[in-house]
Amino acid sequence: MDENDFPARRWLPEHHEWLTRQLADGPGLLCLDWDETCAAGDIGEALIRSLDENGEVWASYTSKLESGDVLEAFVDAAAVLSGMDVVEAAAHCRTCVDEAIRVGDVAVRPEIQDLIRAAEACSWEVWVVSASVQPVVAAFASLYGLASNRVIGMNLAQEQGRYLAYLEGPNSYRQGKVDAIEQFIGRQPDLAIGDAMTDLEMLSFSKKALVIGPSSSELRRIAHSMGWPIQPVFESI
């Protein structure tokens, strides 16, 4: 693999070299967090704002985050799609992604687009494991060449083709990310990349890990102690 296959761009040189070596040593399983890892910004939050006409869901979501009820906040965020037909929801999620990119709420990270392409060229299996609701992450991940069936996210239950307001299967938050990997992929990742404490269990479960950001000093401390490379955030929006 040469520079053409995986350009250095804004990767620190040592991390670019490290990743290049990992990919070349493959094939393997690469698991990626989505928001603030693969993309700048939070597409799950952009989805709430796109559907929350009176701001109630957003207020509840942020309140729960502040009070530490993070899982509950994520479930509320996922439930904004409840009542929608599956195809209608997918259509809305695609519109939401296009609009969120247009207004600058989220941004594609070309470094990760390149990483995914390079990994797949080296026969790696690439999955996204996100705590945002699956359809909107899948819509965004399609811009990185990933099929919907390679995206694990909060999975709303369905009835007669419509989303319900509660989850089905493992929640993809903290230990739930590991549970989801075991259930849907069935093996330990060779490499995981994340940005937040919500990714800690997935990063720890993986044979190797890299941290982008990270968003908390606690994760930075853990990353140092674990010897995980820490890539400074590419950009903030």
Binding site: D5, V87, A90, R94, T95, D98, P110, S142, L143
Partner: protein, 442 residues
């Protein structure tokens, strides 16, 4: 920027006068089309480009001097593209410096498609409907979208074709759009250039399903022909309409090909149109320039007509017209998209009891025998009811678009499956057209 003259190795020479790349950017409409502005002096010029520094792709040649804007076609999204201006200066090949630009990211509305197997070469133009967005796409061998264009929310696109006569060194796409059930007459054939800009539009009142390029430079299409029958009400027949660049001329109506239907016949057909009783249900039209006739497929009548430019019936193939189909299981029934695939060989999609099949019929017009020399269906034997088409590539391969199934397949000369493309979210493809080269080179 100066050219490096390849004939003298390791020595850089200034080749006067200079030709230069003045700007490199992306099309405003299509993030995967790179536009290179050049200023050309004497000699024969072209651009070499590719997604690696080894390049590998090239544009056609330019001999005209002055400023030109050259599109780089066939590129995937979000990829670094390396570009070099080349010149053949009286037999001496010179190369300019390497430029690099990254293609943009596709909009999220672009349908996600996946492929398995290998398409040997070329590109496939797809008209996508059934999902969240109506659009036209071009995909490469790997299923990567290299060109796209969305269409208004209130239309469906039932056919898209590469223009037979595009501007030199470029491609254009023609697409037929209409409303779902003919109640709002917004039918038109839209023409888009390689940069995704709509460059022309032809109103096609009551057009549906299919259009064709020809005769000559004309455009022709199928249009609903609604007439009143006493005691029944409005009945929807069809007519071929030809547009000669100035006016639209009715060529032939199915009301002239058959006697008016009675209530008993109309009861056989699905009642889904608001403007009247569905009758002949024309579902495909193609002009064959070599034979000088149209092939018109009428689903409900199970007939295919060959009609001259003026509408004279040259041949009609169908069970009801004395044709004997061998084996009898391949009798033409609710057929779709018939095209000529050889001297007496017709290729079409047929509805059989075992499912929708691609059928290759060897026609003997003297004995009125239609022998199915090849038949092929999807493994699950499912029926495909909406649109779709099949094409024989000049080199012998076959492109099959399974319409509402959202599956497109490529079979090699030996009829072995080589490549499958599938979509998601209920998207399917009204039409699929193959082209070897987006610049129109042989």
């Amino acid at each position: 920027m100066m050219f490096r003259c390849l004939s003298i190795s390791a020595v850089l020479l200034a080749c006067q006068p200079e030709s230069v790349i003045t700007a490199v950017g992306l099309s405003d409409e299509v993030a995967t089309v790179v536009v290179v502005d050049v200023e050309l002096e004497g000699g024969e010029h072209w651009l070499e480009y590719g997604v690696t520094q080894q390049l590998g792709l090239s544009t056609p040649n330019w001999t005209e001097t002055g400023a030109h804007s050259i599109p780089l076609l066939g590129l995937p999204q979000a990829t670094d593209v390396y570009i070099r201006l080349m010149r053949d200066n009286e037999g001496r090949v010179e190369e300019g410096p390497l430029s690099v630009v990254r293609t943009g990211t596709l909009p999220a509305w672009v349908p996600f498609v996946e492929t398995t197997g290998e398409l040997p070469d070329g590109f496939v133009l797809l008209s996508a409907l059934g999902g969240p967005t109506t659009s036209i796409l071009i995909v490469n061998q790997d299923g990567q979208v290299v060109w796209y264009r969305s269409l208004d929310e209130d239309v469906v696109v039932t056919d898209a074709q590469f223009a037979i006569a595009p501007p030199e060194r470029d491609f254009e796409v023609l697409s037929l759009v209409s409303d779902q059930d003919y109640t709002v007459d917004i039918s038109a054939i839209l023409r888009f250039n390689s940069r995704g800009e709509m460059v022309a539009s032809v109103d096609t009142p009551m057009a549906h399903h299919s259009f064709t390029q020809g005769p000559g430079e004309d455009l022709s299409w199928i249009a609903a022909d609604v007439r009143e029958i006493d005691g029944i009400g409005p009945v929807v027949g069809d007519q071929i309409v030809r547009f000669n660049g100035v006016e639209a001329i009715p060529v032939r109506s199915t009301w002239d090909l058959y006697g008016p239907p009675d209530a008993e016949e109309l009861a056989l057909y699905e009642d889904y149109l608001e403007i009247g009783e569905d009758w002949t249900h024309a579902n495909h039209l193609v002009w064959d320039e070599d034979r000088g006739h149209y092939l018109l497929s009428l689903r409900n009548k199970h007939d295919v007509f060959a009609l001259s430019k003026s509408g004279t019936v040259e041949m009609v193939v169908g069970d009801a017209h004395g044709w004997n189909f061998e084996p009898s299981t391949s009798v033409m029934h609710e057929q779709h998209a018939p095209v000529w695939a050889g001297e007496d060989t017709m290729l079409l999609l047929n509805q059989e009891s075992r499912g929708t099949r691609v059928v290759e019929l060897e026609l003997d017009s003297e004995s009125h025998t239609a022998e199915a020399t090849w038949s092929y269906g999807l493994d699950d034997g499912a029926k495909m009811y909406v649109l779709g088409n099949v094409a024989r590539i000049p080199s012998g391969e076959t492109l099959v678009n399974w319409g509402s199934r959202g599956v497109v397949q490529w079979l090699d000369e030996g009829k072995s499956l080589q490549w499958t493309l599938e979509s998601e979210l209920g998207h399917f493809f009204a039409s699929a057209r193959w082209v070897a080269d987006l610049y129109g080179r042989e």
